[in-house]
């Protein structure tokens, strides 16, 4: 069972990690837009 849970948890860690990088990139871009304004 531990392999099963490890696989499911790993899947969501990968997806959430990627979404996290998208959020950070979005925040950085918003800040750049504010600077340009």
């Amino acid at each position: 069972m531990s392999y099963l849970y490890a696989a499911y948890i790993a899947t969501w860690l990968i997806h959430l990690g990627y979404i996290g990088t998208l959020v950070l990139r979005h925040i950085r871009l918003r800040r750049e837009i504010q600077e340009l304004k």
Binding site: Y3, L4, A7, A10, T11, I14, L22, R25, L29, L36
Partner: protein, 229 residues
């Protein structure tokens, strides 16, 4: 899309939650593998979703090569990132399934190796885009994507044409699967496709925004150099 996005996001999260419940609780236990077989509900749908995004990347790259369409280039980079994310899931969940079932984490058989090569090709594609600059970069990236896509049929058909450690397909390959398992499998695939498409849309919008900011910065610096002192 801007208004529909939060609604679609809530629906997708609900669908993913329902699919998870079906996979872990409702799906029958496999007679031979026990509960660990349930990794199939994440491993295989992730692989199919990976193929979807690499196929989108391929089509967008071809469109870019023919028409030099910048939106197609933005679609290509977003799809490549999503493809790599799902490919990573496949490469992580695969060994976690192989260890209890085969007794090994990894073997250099053609299905596993070609999947790893596919991941390396698209990571190279993203690194090329990240670290090179200049007008030729999208052209080089699109060319790499077109050649990289040649690995996709090899990954998919390797288990049909070669003797591999990886099992033969149970869907569309002459194998059999319990209809309840198949239903939950397809449900999870649909959920991951919806989730992937939502994240893909966000990444595409981010890419468009990034390009607009870059263009504005370039224009600004051009105006600064031309303005009289």
């Amino acid at each position: 899309m801007k208004r529909a996005y939060p609604i679609l996001a809530v629906l997708t999260v609900a669908l993913l939650g329902y699919s998870l419940y079906e996979a872990l609780v409702v799906a029958p236990t496999d007679r031979l593998q026990g509960d660990v077989y349930r990794i199939i509900y994440y491993h295989v749908p992730s692989a199919w979703t990976m193929f979807t995004f690499f196929a989108i990347n391929f089509v967008a790259s071809v469109i870019y090569l023919i028409r030099r369409n910048l939106k197609a280039d933005a679609v290509a980079v977003a799809a490549a990132e999503l493809g790599v994310v799902f490919n990573t899931v496949v490469l992580v969940t695969g060994p976690l399934w192989a260890r209890p079932v085969w007794g090994i984490w990894w073997t250099w058989d053609i299905r596993l190796t070609s999947t790893l090569v596919l991941w390396l090709i698209y990571v190279s594609y993203l690194l090329l885009r990240r670290f090179s600059s200049g007008g030729q970069m999208p052209l080089l990236a699109a060319t790499l994507a077109v050649f990289g896509a040649l690995d996709m049929p090899l990954v998919y058909f390797s288990i049909w044409f070669f003797r591999t450690q990886h099992p033969q397909p149970v869907v569309g390959g002459g194998g059999s699967i319990d209809p309840r398992m198949l239903h939950i499998w397809l449900l999870n695939w649909f959920a991951f496709e919806c989730f992937g498409l939502l994240v893909f849309w966000s990444r595409y919008r981010l890419e468009i925004m990034r390009r607009e900011v870059e263009e504005t910065r370039e224009l600004e610096s051009l105006l600064e150099t031309r303005s009289p002192r």
